[in-house]
Amino acid sequence: MAENVKTAAGKTDERVSFAGFIKNHIFDLTAYAGLAVMVILFLIFNSGPRFMYNLSSVIQAAAVYSILALGAVFIYSMGFMDVSLGQQVGVYVILMILIGNAIGGVLGIVVGFIAVLALALLCGAINGAVSIFLGLPSIVTSLFLMFFFTGAQYLMMEATGENTIRLAQTIRPADRNTYSLMLVIIIAVLAIIGGYVFNYTKLGKYTRAIGANKTTAQQSGISLVKWQVFGYMALGFCIAVGSFVMLTRTGTAGKGTGTGYAMDIMICLILGGMPLKGGMKSKISSALVGAFTYTLLSNVLTTMGVPLNWINFVKACIFLLIVLLTCRKSKGILPR
């Protein structure tokens, strides 16, 4: 008899079996388990006096990844990706230093950040709109922006005549722990805002719907151009903030600043359980879980004494392992 077939929404959620729950949340559980393992290994390998120092290092490194990944969730949820992200970070950090040093004082920093924010939002809008108007895959427009920013970064550094440029003033608290606490607060605030926007506003719901089925989304009244542009602008905002946080951390920039961040963010999101084909299973938590797992992994491998080249090798192996585990599943996190 049909006693367990209910017709009212939400009445039998609690009746879903444990096995069913595991099956439905396998990627989330794997991601959280990965983070838990990394935290345990971090605690094992960082006991004693080094603990606070290394914890602070992890927070500082994870902060930039977290912020960038929070923005990237909005475009990955649409099934898109952005390979220009790292080069944009590089150019924005250089720009903020140049503007900050030219104007000087707090005003210089503020003007620098506003200029970068405007540029990042503009690039986001271009990235989102051009691919739709020209009918190009989003990765193509982001490739164009990547080459553009690579060139811009090179030319700007050539113009300075230096290998590295430095912000004339210090914009971070002198105390390492205070600085880390400040970063934790920034991450928390952005995560709350990101969580709100992604879960409780049209932007998050529409970007997921676009990722799940573009045609259905459009025929349900969602403007693909508008929300794709907004999604990329959300990423642009996070790139600007992430660049600022990076500046507070390093205070310097060069030709190589930002290099590799696009791939790192992709790996962070995969480690966080984000389905790269986008859709309804996309989650904002993937950004934080992935960013911290990735940073802790690097830290643990370093403290274990693994050489830098081998760290990259291990990361590549883990990435391949995830690909192998998921690409053959129709509902896996990678596009088929």
Partner: protein, 502 residues
């Protein structure tokens, strides 16, 4: 001599989470029969056959094929052993040629010493098979994307059936086929039956079931509720008996609208004014409040395109579409003007299959639910819950994914998106395609209620009985032109209409 069993299913149980799709099912299929499987959407018909054909595994139970235990690893495994299945949804490989689709997975047969593949041989063999099925209009070397849904379905049938086929499962395939396609399929299944093979035929078309099947099994809520022999199917009260077994209650005569009042309110809601696009030239239409206009014709007659144009999905060369005076240039304009559209391509256009039922239902209504950017989960749940209840969607909760629902329940979700949005104009393109009799009756009731509420409806349908039963005015199209218009009347018959269609 008794009939020889070919497939035996014993104590089969299939659970999807907390939902029991099959409950201790025992059924035997014999050689030389065309066994009809009927039941409401979600009754378990496709679940049984998909398990037999290796698409999924049973939770418990046993199967025997030709007397041996049967536990196929996949659909390919099943097909290699002689069990083939054609599904309701499109199942061809896009961007490949017709020949590549037909012989997918069998290229070794055309490779010299298992190395060099001769595409010439593949194409030649594929064309021979197509010709033998009477499908000379399909070219083996063509890209499959060139062909419409119906031809692709026929190509699938060609791919499935070979000399080695022992059991052929046809799962609600005929809804996608025209008269010619159906005739071709009927000829094929009767040939298989005559060759002592077994055909399992799933359909919601009662006439088709009664005409083509030699035996019938009725399912309800995952259980076998009864079987009928050919003699019992010929009895005068057979349809009534089958419907009772399917639904568990008397369906009654109240199926379509009972009134013959084609009046409506004077206000025009949707207007297509001398519209031209693609092969459609200078088409005009006025749809009033409280009016149901039906569109009928053979596949490719242009009726589906009219529905798309009215929803702003077609780029017009001339003329304009307006709703309440506002011009419709895109589907966004249409939705903002209160138009809803139920696409005939349910799985690819109307629904997010890998999304929750609730998420699908509220999608067009999110704009209205958004209060100062905030969309309350409580409001979403309330709205989707109301529609799930109103449409009696069989599910565990609004969080259940749409792709786990049966065809009829998916269609209800597609329908409920627009009732949730309170759309004033609804364009329904084949709204009851692949839907069982109980759901159809329910949907007709909903459409009738909408008319009474003053809503305007365009009903595009391939079923003439549906148009005659529901529409105030029927527009028959052929070759992208309006051939004739019929007003609602008790005297109107399918024969009157058909002469304008062909």
């Amino acid at each position: 001599m008794g009939k020889e069993p070919i497939i035996e299913v014993r104590h089969m149980v299939k659970n999807f989470g907390p939902t029991r799709a099959l409950r201790d099912v025992d059924v035997t299929f014999y050689r030389g029969e065309i066994r009809g499987l009927v039941g409401e959407n979600g009754s378990g018909k496709s679940t049984i056959t998909s398990i037999i054909a290796g698409m999924q595994k049973a939770t418990s139970g046993e199967m025997f094929y030709k007397g041996e235990p049967w536990n196929p690893a996949s659909m390919v495994d099943s097909q290699l052993h002689g069990i083939s299945m054609v599904l309701q949804e499109a199942n061809t490989i896009p961007n490949c040629t017709v020949a590549e689709n037909i012989f997918a997975g069998r290229f070794n047969e055309f490779a010299k010493a298992n190395s060099f593949l001769s595409m010439r041989k593949v194409n030649k063999a594929a064309q021979e098979v197509l010709d033998s099925f009477g499908l000379q209009h399909i070219k083996a070397t063509d890209n499959i994307n060139q062909y419409g849904f119906e031809d692709r379905k026929l190509i699938e049938i060609v791919r499935c059936v070979s000399d080695e086929t022992e059991v052929f499962v046809v799962d609600e395939t005929t809804t996608a086929l025209s008269h010619e396609g159906r005739e071709l399929l009927y000829k094929l299944i009767h040939k298989l039956k005559d060759n002592n093979k077994c055909v399992i035929f799933i359909s919601h078309d009662m006439d088709e079931i009664l005409e083509q099947c030699t035996d019938l099994t009725v399912l309800r809520d995952g259980e076998i509720k009864g079987s009928l022999t050919r003699e019992e199917m010929d009895a005068p009260d057979a349809v009534k008996k089958i419907r009772f077994l399917m639904v568990g209650r008397e369906i009654g005569d109240a199926y379509y609208r009972e009134d013959y009042d084609s009046s409506h309110l004077p206000d025009v809601t949707l207007k297509l004014d001398h519209v031209s696009f693609g092969p459609i030239k200078d088409f005009s239409l006025e749809l009033h409040k409280g009016e149901i206009i039906g569109f009928g014709g053979l596949s490719g007659c242009g009726m589906h395109e009219i529905g798309r144009a009215a929803f702003g999905l077609e780029k017009l060369a001339e003329g304009k579409v307006t709703c309440e005076g506002k011009e419709i240039k895109s589907c966004l304009d249409a939705i903002e003007s209160g138009i809803g559209y139920i696409s005939k391509n349910r799985d690819t256009e109307a629904l997010i299959l890998e999304g929750a039922i609730g998420e699908n239902i509220v999608l067009p209504s999110l704009n209205a639910l958004s209060k100062r950017t905030f969309i309350s989960p409580k409001a979403e749940k309330k709205l989707s819950g109301r529609e799930i209840d109103n449409f009696r969607i069989k599910c565990n909760s609004g969080k259940q994914w749409v792709n786990t629902l049966s065809g009829g329940n998916k269609q209800k979700v597609s329908f409920s998106k627009w009732t949730a949005k309170a759309s004033e104009v609804l364009i329904m393109d084949c709204p009851t395609r692949g839907v069982d009799i109980g759901v159809k009756q329910f949907m007709y009731h909903v459409i009738d209620e909408m008319k009474k509420q003053g809503k305007s409806i365009i009903l595009i349908s391939e079923e003439l009985a549906e148009l005659i039963g529901m529409a105030d005015k029927i527009i028959i199209m052929k070759d992208f032109q309006v051939m004739h218009e019929f007003m609602r009347s008790p005297e109107l018959s399918e024969t009157d209409i058909i002469e304008y269609m062909i």
